[in-house]
């Protein structure tokens, strides 16, 4: 009995999965970075203030919202620079969404 293993398929999965995850995470992180640069630092409170160890308290959420507002006020960039950063942020999020959509379409049309 001979067992043939398609090692190339494993490599393919690794490369495709790595490329997909890197594109999604990198562009999303760039998008967040650009949002901060444009003076729109995202402050996202937890959907529910549970007693989970990683969920911040309401007090901490308010404090970070205050810090974000303060940082936005002291942003040294000009209005044009801020606008460019905001456009770049949305473009990065769009690339991220397109990568996910592309991956899903590939699966749907491949089968």
């Amino acid at each position: 009995m001979t067992v043939t293993i398609d090692w190339l398929a494993f490599l393919q999965v690794f490369v495709v999965a790595m490329a997909g995850a890197v594109v999604v995470v990198t562009f999303y992180a760039v998008g967040l970075r650009m949002l901060v640069r444009s003076g729109h630092a995202p402050v996202v409170s937890p959907a529910e203030f549970t007693d989970a160890i990683t969920v911040i308290t309401e007090k901490q959420a308010k404090r970070s919202a205050k810090a974000a507002a303060k940082a936005a006020k002291r942003n040294p960039l000009t209005q044009t620079q801020k606008r460019i950063a905001l456009v770049a942020a949305y473009a990065a999020f769009a690339v991220c969404a397109l990568a996910v959509l592309g991956g899903l379409l590939l699966i749907v049309f491949n089968h």
């Binding site: 999965v13 995202p42 409170s45 937890p46 990683t54």
Partner: protein
């Protein structure tokens, strides 16, 4: 023929029950991290997971084809005994799934299914009826490689996520925004779970239909896809109440950036594997990602004892469910098809009921939660105050040097003032 039809109906019912337990068991795979970070309300998370599992089941059928047309050589087994063997295999899978659920042991529903089927085929037919090549290349090797792959990817992307958003001026870094992202990536994981796990049951039902000649191709029929999709979605939703009560308390220390990276890695690994027909365990992939992303955070160390415990649970699943499947097949072989299947069915119902009633006596705690993923979060210890990065160290050195210089200048100035006053 009537007996075969009856057994096939029993196989379909049992397979759908397995599908239900699979969804029930795996809700946490997609939703452990977003609930832990507060990205989603637990109830909303569970509902989202159920809906996306349903959608995912319709996206691809490659994994179903692997199971229905690859692992077992249908031509090596007589058509009269084959449905009973599948039945015995399912009993092995369900019993092991329920037992590990009761004991809170980490286990993979997929491997329970493969173990059950392989064990039952070995006893009910012969070793020649199993395609070892397919078992090795599409089940065993992916089981070993997939968690490692997911771990490496999660480690890399966590490093990227933190590096891209790091600030050195103590101003807001925007990492809160990863909480939004988590809603999408966890949705992707739920979708990927549907594309991989629902198909395993589709494959088993299709295999049963092929053996009795009701179908010739390995492509699942539409009603099979629909039934499996609905059942896994229902199981996912029903399994949620336990997750709400356990993950809400916070089992693992996962930050939004880390959770986002882990989910991106899990989803991409499962989706890429599903497209190529690898029937891997989503629990193992999600666990590998959680460990990898934990290691991607600064100052983290691995708790090898916890990793070892999780891996022993994984390694045990295939032979243990195989053993139960083999025992069930032995009963079928000894007592004859009809009596054997009925005895097995009664025994399985009794065991499932006993386990279910026993589980109701236990309070739901982190010890008996069904989340192997949350469990793997404990495998990595992250320091509360991580060591500084190279650039942070450099900045600190520069600040120290500047402070020292300012101090010296001040001292010189004081001395000069004193000298001036003396004159």
């Amino acid at each position: 023929m009537e007996t075969a039809a009856l057994i096939v109906v029993l196989v379909i019912v049992l397979a759908l029950f397995f599908d239900f337990t699979n969804g029930f068991h795996d809700t946490a795979n997609a939703m452990a991290t977003p609930i832990a970070t507060g990205a989603l309300k637990p109830k909303a998370a569970v509902l989202l997971a159920a809906v996306l599992n349903l959608v995912g089941a319709f996206l691809s059928t490659e994994v179903a084809k692997t199971i229905s047309g690859g692992i077992i050589h249908e031509d090596e087994i007589s058509a009269t005994i084959f449905p009973s063997i599948i039945f015995a295999g399912l009993i092995g899978a369900i019993t092991w799934n329920m037992l590990t659920w009761l004991l809170g042991l980490p286990s993979s529903s997929s491997h329970a299914l493969f173990g059950g089927l392989i064990g039952a085929t070995l006893v009910g037919a012969s070793a020649a009826a199993i395609d070892m090549g397919v078992v090795m290349s599409k089940v065993v090797l992916p089981a070993l490689i997939a968690p490692l792959t997911a771990g490496i990817i999660a480690f890399t992307v966590t490093k990227i996520a933190y590096a891209m958003t790091r600030r050195y001026d103590n101003k807001p870094d925007g990492r809160d925004g990863f909480r939004w992202g988590q809603i999408f990536t966890s949705s992707l994981v739920a979708l990927a779970h549907g594309t991989n796990d629902a198909q395993k049951t589709m494959g088993v039902i299709t295999l049963a239909l092929i053996t009795v000649g009701w179908q010739t191709s390995s492509q699942p029929q539409t009603w099979v896809i629909f039934a499996c999709a609905v059942t896994i979605a229902l199981g996912t939703y029903m399994g949620g109440w336990r997750i709400i009560r356990t993950l809400g308390k916070g089992l693992t220390d996962v930050k939004p950036a880390q959770g986002f990276s882990a989910e991106a890695s899990t989803a991409s690994t499962i989706l890429a594997s599903s497209a190529l027909g690898f029937a891997l365990s989503t629990t193992q992939v999600a666990s590998g990602s959680v460990i990898g992303s934990g290691l991607g955070r600064r100052g983290s160390t691995v708790r090898w004892r916890t990793v070892g415990r999780i891996m022993v649970g994984w390694l045990l699943t295939l032979p243990a469910s195989g053993l139960v499947g083999a025992l069930a097949a032995l009963v079928v072989v000894w007592l004859g098809q009809v009596v054997g299947v009925l005895v097995c069915a009664v025994a399985a119902v009794a065991i499932i009921l006993a386990i279910f009633l026993r589980s109701r006596r236990n309070a739901v705690t982190s010890a008996n939660a069904m989340s192997g993923v949350a469990d793997s979060g404990h495998a990595v210890k992250v320091k509360r105050n991580p060591p500084p990065t190279r650039r942070q160290r450099q900045l600190a050195r520069e600040q120290a040097r500047a402070a020292e210089k300012a101090e010296k200048d001040a001292a010189v100035r004081v001395r000069a003032d004193e000298g001036g006053n003396g004159k």
